[in-house]
């Protein structure tokens, strides 16, 4: 009788679980699932901005198509044969690799500093958080002004120190445009990295350090043999999160270095085609490919880390 009651209770609770989840799931379906499906569908059509609903199925033409000019000549068209697209892919990957690497190193340094006991630590932590809180667009604008070729304070600083002899056109020159984008991104997101690594550092038990100190182990050895291995999991998660974020970068590039081949990323390429060039279907194809790349990385990450989704260990 009692067991019966409990199983009835479980049934009621399971039913209420789905009732509780329903509103959220419906919203996510309408706002994420459906639009994603439509984007993928558009990538196989000839949709244009004004005639979205008249889209007709055209197969994989937006991705790849061989056009025969007759007399044995022909050319490949489509996204997979588009040098501009591959340049954007290259830019995005290069940007993500460099920025995330530098952010990890700088974040680690900041985290190690914040993990020390010293006067004014709270204030330093608050100061470090500020770049994170500043809207990306505002950061981009602030740096655009600081990186200004004629009146920028950065050129002035570097010239005073003697690192450069002539002003650098940071955002305008193709050689430095990507560096400018990276500078802004690194400045803005290092705090996030530092906080995640700091959380990992604070979980390292203090007696481990005590023991090492008693044994007279050098500081660098303690860092390499104790600290680093223990914070590795937290650091990896931070790196993956940041990488996924970096791969979809849009704002900084759009504001800081608009219309430059040197910095065009996948997101910028996709949006440009969708809304500025009236190649809605083509832009959808770019969005779809980008989604596939990021989805693949996410799945690999989730499988590799065997995440504790059910919360069994907590």
């Amino acid at each position: 009788m009692k067991a019966n009651n409990i199983s009835r209770l479980t049934r009621i609770r399971t039913r209420s679980a789905w009732a509780f989840l329903a509103p959220m799931l419906v919203v996510l379906l309408v706002v994420a699932g459906w639009p994603l499906g439509r984007t993928i569908y558009f990538s196989f059509t000839d949709a244009s901005l004004d005639l979205i609903s008249d889209a007709r199925w055209v197969g994989v033409r937006n991705y790849l198509e061989y056009v025969d000019f007759g007399d044995g000549e022909g050319r490949y068209y489509g996204l997979l044969a588009d040098a501009r697209w591959w340049r954007s892919v290259g830019n995005t990957i290069w940007f993500s690799l460099v920025s995330v690497s530098i952010e990890t190193v700088l974040g680690l340094i900041v985290a190690l500093v914040l993990n020390q006991q010293f006067r004014g630590r709270g204030l330093v932590r608050a100061a470090v958080l500020i770049p994170w809180a500043i809207p990306t667009i505002v950061s981009a604008k602030m740096w655009a002004w600081m990186l200004h070729d004629q009146f920028g304070i950065l050129n002035d600083m570097l010239m005073r120190v003697g690192l450069i002899s002539d002003p650098v056109a940071w955002t305008a020159s193709p050689d430095t445009a990507m560096i400018a984008v990276m500078i802004v991104d690194i400045w803005k997101t290092t705090p996030f990295m530092a906080l995640l690594i700091l959380a990992g550092l604070q979980m390292v038990p203090g007696d481990l350090y005590e023991a090492a100190k008693l044994d007279g182990v050098s500081a660098t050895r303690v860092f390499r043999k104790i600290t680093l291995p223990l914070i590795m999991p937290a650091m990896l998660v931070a790196v993956v999160f940041r990488s996924l974020d970096a791969l979809r970068i849009f704002d900084i590039v759009y504001v800081l270095t608009p219309n430059t081949d040197a910095t065009r990323t996948m997101s910028v390429f996709a949006r440009e085609n969708l809304f500025d060039f009236d190649k809605f279907a083509y832009g959808s194809a770019a969005s779809t490919l980008m989604f596939l790349v990021i989805a693949l990385i996410t799945i690999v990450f989730i499988l590799a880390s065997r995440m504790d989704l059910e919360g069994k260990n907590s």
């Binding site: 996510l28 500020i130 920028g152």
Partner: protein, 276 residues
């Protein structure tokens, strides 16, 4: 002994560098925003002018004020809706065992990692179809894609860590799940809700891509797009003073929030990511 002093000096030098690099761009934006005319183009490291003309010109037109209100409206409504939807969902995901729970959490997590651009084309169609183009509700609607998974995820982690005993008595008394959420969990969840709400607010306040795409007139824009759109007649007439004044205006509230809720923000950020 000497080495010790050197070490301490080195450490504090590092601390100084960290603080300076974090604060300098914002400091310089404030400094620039207080300059006008020729003074703008003379590089100085310390404030030399205290001229509020840029602030006046930004705020007097009325458009920028409207845009700030737009941002406040969108971010607040987004926070309220996503918290409401997330509390019940998080309860189900953390306190009730049912089949498919792990998969569901996985799906929610992957949505939060979605590249926004992947849904842009489809969302554009939905928003036009709903007649929401150039309406603030278009943003409220589309921002759910990042605030909802995030709030659900963080609140689920938080609720999961509450002891089972707290609801046992209520279940035995035959209280409905909704009552349990309202009476037992809500009072305990305020800290977590403030944290996630704050982070969701900042996300929504800063969002750019959707706001750029789904709004088309000046009066409807939110502040990030408004700032990105401030331009002069030519490249040589970009009103840097105005841009910096606008930047300072929209950033100051955020900086204040960060300073006040520092601890909460740090714990919310790390709960959202480390556990994920």
């Amino acid at each position: 002994m000497k080495l010790d002093i050197l070490k301490r000096l080195g450490f504090y030098a590092l601390v100084t560098i960290i603080v300076l690099q974090a604060l300098f761009p914002f400091y310089y934006a404030i400094l620039t925003s207080l300059e006008d005319g020729q003074a703008l183009f003379e590089i100085n490291y310390l404030p030399e002018a205290l001229n509020f003309i840029n602030y006046q010109s930004m705020l007097s037109g009325g458009v920028f004020g409207k845009q700030i209100l737009n941002s406040v409206f969108v971010a607040s409504v987004v926070v309220i809706i996503s918290l409401t939807l997330a509390v019940t969902a998080a309860y189900a995901l953390s306190r009730i065992r049912f089949r498919g729970r792990g998969l569901l959490l996985l799906t929610i997590l992957s949505v939060s990692m979605f590249p926004q651009i992947a849904v842009l084309a489809g969302l554009f169609e939905v928003i036009r179809w709903l007649g929401l183009f150039n309406s603030l509700w278009a943003l409220v609607f589309s921002y759910m894609i990042f605030t909802l998974p995030f709030t659900v995820w963080v609140l689920t982690t938080f609720m999961r860590n509450l002891p089972i005993e707290i609801e046992e008595a209520a279940i035995m008394d035959g209280a409905s799940s909704l009552t349990i959420i309202r009476r037992v969990f809500l009072p305990l969840m305020w800290p977590a809700m403030v944290t996630t709400g704050l982070l969701a607010f900042i996300h929504a306040w800063n969002e750019f891509l959707f706001a750029l795409t789904f709004l088309s007139t000046d009066g409807q824009r939110t502040v990030p797009v408004a700032i990105a759109m401030i331009s002069g007649r030519s490249e040589f007439e970009i009103p840097w003073g105005n841009i910096m004044a606008a930047s300072v205006i929209v950033t100051l509230p955020l900086v204040a929030l960060v300073l006040i809720f520092q601890r909460k923000i740090v714990s919310g950020l790390t709960a959202g990511a480390v556990k994920g």
